[in-house]
């Protein structure tokens, strides 16, 4: 084993987690064969130089996130996370299944509420959710789609089993890093691409645009799609520009839009132009000062009415947040059985509902062993990890839980799986999660092969959020078909580009020489 992996297996064993690359016997898993081979050839100096160059490229290209007002390159680790075809098959089916169930659930709660009438979930679960918006009750979205884009967070537990950690069907972000990471890795670790069939990710913008167009208001032949951003100070601004750019559509801010007669227009140099589909990257609460927060300058007054009247499609639909509620999450396996008559493909993490007396008492007794999460938080906000918390923090938490039991859930601390990660003078095991992205066009839920693997860069840390010092890894989904059709090869990979471009350049050169001789 290379010097870079010195002490790796001991550290991995200490963490007690499932390691994605090595078996407990310190042998690289089959899916990691090519990566292992490539890394073995590298010295520490190579790895450092490549890591530095990847970070530099990200900064130059502006692949950054906003951290306390400062633009930082999103750290990308040189070791990819590799998912073999059979494991991906499970994830893909599981994610799509979940999206279908959540889509049915949202349609139901903003309509007949059959799920309540049939006793699958209590009425209060829905009506007390912070993101249940009565403003859109009875509203039929164009194309029947509410969850156009979703990011379902999954993790692998110590036994190596995938579990869903949470659902994001409001404004899931991170897909831009999936696209950029692949480009960077083609230059950062070209050796590992080789002949290995890695499924491409670059199809995403095309799939997204086509789904957005397909769900345009009826009667619009050639819909105008825009991406709505809160603006340059938003931490995901880079992603908004990238998606708008790759889809070839306008990136608008609220002040670029006007609503009139339940239609939406954007201000252009040639006057006002109608907008048919808005891919919004703003939280519902800021979308429309007439419906929600009247002090918000980010959105555009009248948007919600225009959408309700069928004059414009808003993606994802307003009100989806109720499905992101972590208490609703605990019911998703039941929802899958109820709406789809299927068994869940991927299990949930065991979850305690703190509004249930028995569960609450049990959890309050064992706070120091559990993770407690607010039901409407995102990005790891407000979460308390029992084993890492002080006595005072736990006491404060206990008070807050008792004051608002509906607002909290608890889960066991999961030893998220690890992947070797460049850390100083060697590779160390670092915990990762995975956010696969799915696009729903109303007929089909397409899952992007891969997704964002976030990694906790601090040894032992389970917090992978970028705002708390996390980084990311490129996620490689292997294809089990031995021969990948040329069109499906990652076009951004250097290896591939060289293969296609060397010949034409040379022949062109010869032509020119002969031109001159004449």
């Amino acid at each position: 084993m290379s010097e870079l992996f010195r002490d790796y297996s001991e550290a991995a064993a200490r963490s007690g987690a499932y390691d994605e690359m090595f078996t407990p016997g310190a042998i690289a898993r089959k899916s990691y064969g090519q990566v292992d081979g490539a890394l073995r050839e590298l010295s520490l100096a190579d790895v450092s130089a490549r890591a530095e160059s990847m970070a530099r490229t990200f900064l130059d290209r502006g692949v950054t996130f906003d951290y306390a007002g400062e633009e930082r390159p999103f750290p990308l680790d040189i070791v990819p996370r590799v998912i073999p075809a059979d494991e991906w098959d499970v994830l893909e089916r599981g994610v799509a299944q979940r999206v279908r169930a959540l889509e049915a659930f949202l349609d139901d709660v903003y309509g007949r509420m059959a799920v309540v009438a049939d006793g699958v979930v209590p009425r209060a679960l829905v009506t007390t959710s912070a993101h249940f918006h009565r403003a859109v009750h009875g509203f039929e979205p164009a194309g029947g789609v509410r969850v156009h884009v979703s990011g379902i967070d999954v993790v692998r537990d110590a036994a190596g089993t995938f579990r869903v950690l949470e659902d994001n069907v409001r404004v899931p972000s991170g897909v831009s890093y999936v696209l950029e990471n692949r480009r960077a890795m083609a230059k950062g670790l070209p050796e590992a691409f080789g002949q290995q069939p890695i499924r491409p990710v670059e199809e995403y913008p095309r799939r997204l645009l086509s789904a957005l167009r397909k769900t345009a208001p009826s009667g619009v032949d050639d819909p105008t799609v825009v991406v709505l951003t809160p603006g340059v100070f938003n931490s995901a601004y880079f992603e908004h520009t990238l998606l708008a750019g790759l889809m070839g559509v306008e990136l608008v801010e609220g002040r670029d839009l006007i609503c009139r007669g339940n239609r939406v227009y954007m201000r252009t140099t040639a006057g006002e132009q109608r907008v048919d589909v808005i891919y919004k990257r703003i939280d519902d609460e800021f979308l429309d000062p007439l419906q929600f927060r009247s002090d918000s300058m980010l959105g555009c007054p009248g948007l919600v009415n225009a959408a309700r009247a069928g004059g414009v499609t808003i993606a994802n639909a307003v009100g989806n947040g109720v499905a992101d509620d972590k208490l609703v999450y605990s019911y998703v396996p039941d929802l899958i059985r109820y709406y789809l008559h299927e068994e869940p493909v991927i299990a949930n993490v065991e979850t305690f509902r703190l509004e249930e007396k028995e569960a609450r008492e049990q959890v309050l007794d064992r706070l120091e062993e559990l993770v407690v999460k607010p039901v409407d938080g995102s990005g790891g906000k407000g979460l308390v990890i029992g084993p890492d918390a002080s006595r005072e923090e736990l006491d404060a938490l206990r008070k807050r839980v008792l004051a608002d039991p509906r607002g909290w859930i608890a889960q066991p601390v999961l030893q998220l799986s690890t992947v070797p990660t460049h850390a100083g003078d060697r590779f160390g095991p670092r915990h990762v999660d995975l956010r696969p992205f799915a696009v729903n066009d109303g007929d089909d839920v397409w899952v992007l092969p891969g997704g964002l693997t976030r990694v906790a860069l601090k040894e032992g840390s389970l917090i992978v959020n970028s705002s708390q010092g996390g980084g990311s890894k490129d996620t490689w989904v292997l294809s089990d078909s031995p021969q990948v059709p040329a069109a499906e090869m990652p076009r951004s990979s250097i290896t591939v580009r060289e293969q296609v471009s060397v010949w034409p350049v040379e022949s062109n050169w010869r032509d020119r020489q002969s031109d001159q001789q004449q």
Binding site: D60, R61, V249, E250, I258, T268, T269
Partner: protein, 308 residues
């Protein structure tokens, strides 16, 4: 295209050109300034700053302060660093519209701003670096952005700013009249060789001034830049007019250009500062007119009325 994006592109054009022009002026004048006695250095530094459209912040305004104000002050739109930061910020806001290579070159330029020594010698190198970077930005804009509306706004900003900068540059001659030769003035504009080839070596002041004001083929001459701006405006507003112009910006630009072209060169020369002032005012007015016509979000708050 979105009005907001058009505005960003216009200002990218202006700011990049401003950085380029300021770097040229600073580069040529530094050499002379450096040789002056301290007292004189101070008064000249102040006057030079005034020509560039800014006022000294403190009494102690000398060479080091001039370097800060014209080269390194990121908070001021007069300085090179400020212009390039502003250009980059505008590109960031219009990122999905500008080409990624244009954005990247502005972004890396922005990150390169801090890597220069801020003394006289460092500033020479800084100025040259800026000329290279802005040339690269221009080149990438010309070759990687479609020559559609977005490019027209970029070029419109660039050509108006260029007319403005050449006018300012010609004004500096008056400030530094003692010894500021026309040769240096031509060098400032990167026009020396072109001028020599056009006029041969036999030239007087008048010919040099004529060249920078009126030459129809040299890209940094005022007439050339104004014609460029006029062409962009014509393409942006193709509604053919048989009589007159309803487009304010075209009227202003056209008037400024024809005034120079049809005025007696002798008269222009004898009142050069006044005429250069006139050009700068025309640029400001044209810029305002463009902003009113294409960028304004006049009914931004109209909904407040609708609700109540």
């Amino acid at each position: 295209m979105l009005s907001r994006i058009a505005e960003s592109l216009f200002w990218i054009g202006r700011y990049v050109e401003r950085a380029d022009g300021t770097a040229r002026i600073l580069d040529v004048h530094l050499e002379r300034l450096n040789h002056l006695p301290l007292e004189e250095q101070r008064s000249v530094a102040r006057e030079l700053l005034a020509v560039m459209g800014a006022r000294p912040q403190s009494e102690e305004f000398g060479l080091p302060e001039l370097l800060h104000a014209l080269a390194y002050d990121k908070t001021s739109a007069t300085s090179i660093a400020g212009s390039l930061s502003a250009a980059r910020e505008n590109a960031r806001r219009a990122r999905e519209t500008v080409s990624s290579s244009l954005w990247e070159s502005l972004n890396t330029t922005y990150y390169g701003l801090n890597q220069h020594r801020k003394d006289v010698v460092g500033t020479y190198r800084f100025c040259n670096w800026v000329l290279e970077r802005t040339a690269m930005v221009r080149g990438l804009a010309d070759t990687t952005v479609s020559h559609d509306e977005s490019w027209l706004f970029l070029v419109l900003g660039r050509s108006l700013e260029r007319a403005d900068m050449t006018a300012r540059m010609l004004s500096t001659r008056d400030v530094l009249s003692a010894g500021m030769s026309w040769v240096n003035m031509l060098r400032c504009a990167g026009a020396y060789e072109s001028f020599l080839r056009t006029r041969r070596a036999a030239f007087g002041d008048q010919h040099a001034a004529e060249f920078l004001l009126l030459d129809r083929l040299f890209p940094r001459s005022i007439v050339f830049a104004l014609r460029d701006a006029d062409e962009c405006l014509a393409k942006l507003d193709p509604s053919a007019q048989r009589v007159g112009f309803i487009n304010d910006a075209r009227r202003i630009v056209g008037q400024a250009r024809t005034f120079l072209e049809f005025h007696r060169t002798d008269d222009l020369m004898s009142e050069l500062p006044e005429h250069m002032d006139r050009v700068q005012k025309a640029v400001t007015q044209a810029s305002d007119a463009i902003s009113r016509k294409y960028f304004n979000q006049a009914d931004e708050l109209a909904w407040v009325g609708e609700v109540s």
